[in-house]
Assembly symmetry: C2
Homo-oligomer: 239 residues x 2
DNA sequence: TAGTGGTCTAGACCACTCT
DNA sequence: GAGTGGTCTAGACCACTAC
């Protein structure tokens, strides 16, 4: 096989996109309708969508709801080992952050209890947030905080850094952190809250945090759009 | 829309896979042929493949060449901030590691030069390897080492840890490390060396390494199958 | 050589968004 | 209400793998 048609199509579309968004893309970064593109490239929607899916995998374009395909903005650089707040590092990269609190509750949660070594019935403060970069929803997250560590926490506002709150209002240290990252397919609530199709590629980041007395403090899960971030870790240790 | 048929199909297949590989899967972890599955679920291959692609995104199954769909093994836990050798941490998790050297050369490489702050014509020792876990190829990597740091390096064997070699034979410290991770779509050489279709989801890990005198030592790129690893970082810093 | 996955066609209907 | 993406059908041929 010389090369599949959709592969050549992918290359042509990619080139067109790199060409300063040329004439393919409108002011909002939106691509023409699939039927238009299919016609223009003399193929069917199925084949065209294969090419678009490939570019989606490369992180160059994405789709929003049923609204169409859009050019993806630059990836955000994110260091999950730092405790800089979302608003801080987004702003530092010249982007516009925004946070929405989706829900606040007190309830048990087995995975959090498990990760923190508590009994499965142990209650947590549960905070769920959606975060935006330049008005694009890029992640949803759930945080489960051990109530004993921060009594009355839910009275606070959560548009800003939770860690800053824990450090400054409750004088907690967040010294032992275990972070895991795996690729995932966004589904169910996560997908719909991000306004993407079920199955869209995502990245799952989990943290488990203990203070310097080894007491459990917090467990959280972030679900990112895969094309929204580039993880970057700087190490200056001597090994 | 209640729910798409392929979504329910995905759920049924996922359940069947979790059921101790039940009767769907043969001894090698291979699923039945697409045409068989499509018939069994009274749908077309296109729709069936949507469901399979979803499970692939979840990291539960993968395909190899044109050989078919296979259940994916457990993810390998990998800490890119540690300098433990591949063979060490794979073995430590009860898995079988293997490394193949694909090529050795001396040549310039612009991205490496760029990352290390050298001129674009600067030559590097270039080592390309393919690594296996339990005889499944899970990553290909290229390493570019600054020749001045390790003269004669290419005389060595590279089936084992390069970092160990650099530390023990050339007494280099690898103290300043910058690591970046982004999702990618495997393509071209990377995809074919891993025996997967172009466009398969992958994870790209790049490192830039300087010694404790801030001299450039090495730059490397790893291309992993997305479902083969779970990144895990442990931090004990005080912040 | 038979069977498989990879690719492709030419349609169709529905749910949703936009105006 | 028009247009769009999401889903689905019922085929087809080809390149490659396994036997």
């Amino acid at each position: 096989m010389a090369e599949a048609y959709y592969q050549r199509l992918t290359d042509r579309l990619r080139d067109a996109l790199l060409l300063e968004h040329s004439s393919w893309v409108d002011a909002d970064g939106k691509l023409p309708a699939e039927r238009i593109l299919a016609q223009r490239f003399k193929t069917t929607r199925v084949t065209l969508r294969q090419a678009l899916a490939q570019l989606e995998g490369e992180g160059r374009i994405h789709r929003s709801n049923r609204r169409g395909w859009f050019v993806s903005p630059l990836r955000l650089e994110y260091d999950p080992t730092r405790d800089a707040g979302f608003n801080d590092y987004v702003t530092a990269q010249g982007r516009l952050p925004r946070t929405e609190v989706l829900s606040l509750a007190t309830s048990p949660h087995a995975p959090a209890a498990n990760a923190l070594g508590l009994s499965v019935n142990h209650p947590f403060y549960h905070i769920r947030r959606r975060r935006y970069v330049d008005e694009r929803a890029v992640l949803v997250e759930s945080l489960w905080v051990v109530p004993e560590r921060a009594p009355g926490l839910l009275e606070e506002r959560f548009e800003f850094s939770l860690w800053k709150l824990l450090r400054e209002q409750w004088h907690l240290s967040l010294s032992h952190r275990s972070i895991s990252m795996v690729s995932e397919a966004l589904q169910g609530t996560d997908a719909s809250e991000l306004g993407v199709a079920s199955g869209t590629a995502g990245l799952n980041i989990c943290r488990t945090i203990f203070d310097d007395a080894h007491l459990p403090v917090e467990y959280d899960e972030e679900h990112w759009l895969h094309d929204a971030l580039s993880i970057r870790v700087e190490l200056k240790g001597t090994h």
